[in-house]
Amino acid sequence: MLLLAFRNLVRRPLRSALAVSGLASALAVFACLLAFGHGYRRALSAESDRMGLQMMLVPLGCPYDAAARVLKGKSLENSLPESALEASRRDPAVAIAAPILMAATPRPDQGRADMWVGLDETALALKPWWRVKAGKPWFPDDDSVILGCDAAEVEMRAPGDRLHSPETGQELRVAGVLERSGTSDDSLFFVPLRTAQRMFGQENRLTAVAIRLRDPALLREASERLQGVPGAQIVTPTEMMGTFLNLVGAVRTLLFSIVLVAMAVGVLGVFNTLLAAVVERTNELSVMRAFGASRSQIGCLITTEALLLTGAGSAVGILLAMVGGHGIEKVVKQFVPLAPTEPLLTLTAWTLAQCVGVGALAGVVAGLYPAWRASRLPPAEASKAE
């Protein structure tokens, strides 16, 4: 049966190849979407773990926008009173509360802004990637600055050099230059918290407080308590992750509907191929019936042809996803909020099994009517055609 079905398909190679390629492209995109969704969730979770913090105290406003801006090294328009830091440190569930003050000095003529970040030594515990390439790992005095590696390259600074901030009039000495981390830290200017507050006229004000808990299980009760800090609100990386996943989920739904249309076109291609084959082979199929082939055997033959076509389509589609998937990933990453740096496209056995399953289902659906029609052919058709 399998042999006969295969021979029937290769009798019209171009038509079969077109049906296979239509289905293959739809399945390739389907496989990429499945793999991308899985990879994004995993990578986002890993990034969240690497941050080393479980919650963030930010000023009132859109919490997700605020948290995303802080994580991306952008400044906020409003700020927190320093009492929020004291309240966080007093909370029994909090192990580390690190204050952050961020400020930007825009340079519109250069199309960029200098990003300054004020930190105190507690920040080191929350920045496991903080490694100096040269100089000291922390500020020896209030007039020191530690530069991200890109900032140091652009300003041509090395440890011991002086750095001036024309907008604030502050003169600083470069204490260290950080190793490249692949994060937004690479382009930042880090100064002691008090210096940043003085430079930007934000005495006793903070942009955010990054918090690590003694036990992550205390997250709910700690966040309930800290929500009571005046002018502040709590955002957890889990909530942020959920928001980003919702955003990605919405995009994925849209893309899945496009894939659905592509799949429908692919299935119609297979359907058309099989129906044309049944019509063309009416005589042949009737002869088979006349020689004793049962209706179910004829139906089974056409269904096998459909499954062979969709099986080949699935195999080619998966191969396409493997070859072209990383190109698609590069494009998709540009549009994804907080895109993780690690590869997102991981084709697992489960993803591949889902693709093969969808391909097989498409084969069955596409072969249903042609198989039914072929099995209905009366043996007498053979003599009529003759």
């Binding site: 042999l3 021979r7 290769v10 041509m156 001036h164 195999a315």
Partner: protein, 217 residues
């Protein structure tokens, strides 16, 4: 078994083998290659931030400009002699903007980032077709007020005009002196402009030279 069947099954088996190999490859826990030696990273290229106003200032008749990159690694020995030091990695290539009035070349503009006392200083240097400095502009600096005032002084910047690659480029000599606190940055500017002039001259002279085969002939 007929040949097409064998071929078909063979192709499918091959595809499945590739899929299996990719899955095992992607799930491998081997860490990525991490070289122990860190190559020195070149400083980022200095952009030309205001081409329209610079062109208007230095080449008022210019109708267009064309970016050009000249590779100078072949002239390294000559550059060592002319610069008086080993060229930096950045100096293996020269990025210039040739300026034209319709089809007539007027000169070139080049940019450079030099190390000032308080941060990077970005220069825009315009060179005429005669090989003399047409003008110099500081497009960005971080120096504090007294130093910035001295370096941005149009009178001081005008003293660069007319200098050639083989001029002395001395502050207090060819170039006017500045207040003592601005001297280090002024020297960095003079050195950066001189280096650019030498790179440009070397590049243009190597173009003018006949090819080796023709010279032998």
């Amino acid at each position: 078994m007929p040949r097409p069947v064998i071929f078909g099954f063979g192709t499918l088996a091959l595809l499945l083998a590739v899929v299996a190999w990719r899955i095992s490859d992607s799930s491998s826990s081997e860490p990525p290659f991490d070289p122990k030696i860190q190559l020195p990273q070149a400083a980022p290229l200095c952009p030309w931030r205001e081409p329209a106003s610079d062109l208007k200032q230095f080449f008022p008749n210019a109708t267009r400009y064309e970016p050009e990159t000249r590779i100078l690694s072949g002239q390294r020995l000559e550059l060592v002699g002319r610069l008086g030091r080993v060229p930096t990695g950045d100096e293996n290539a020269l990025h210039i903007y040739r300026c034209y009035e319709n089809l007539t070349p007027l000169g070139a503009v080049s940019t450079r980032r030099v190390k000032g006392t308080y941060g990077a200083i970005e220069l825009v240097l315009a060179v005429g077709a005669d090989g003399q400095v047409r003008g110099l502009r500081v497009q960005r600096l971080r120096e504090p007020e007294p130093i910035a005032d001295a370096l941005l002084n149009p009178g001081w910047l005008r003293t660069f005009e007319g200098l050639r690659s083989d001029s002395s480029w001395k502050i207090g000599g060819d170039i006017a002196d500045v207040v003592p606190e601005a001297r280090a940055s002024a020297e960095a500017i003079a050195d950066g402009a001189r280096s650019l002039m030498i790179l440009l001259a070397t590049s243009d002279e190597s173009d003018a030279r006949p090819p080796v085969a023709a010279r032998h002939h």
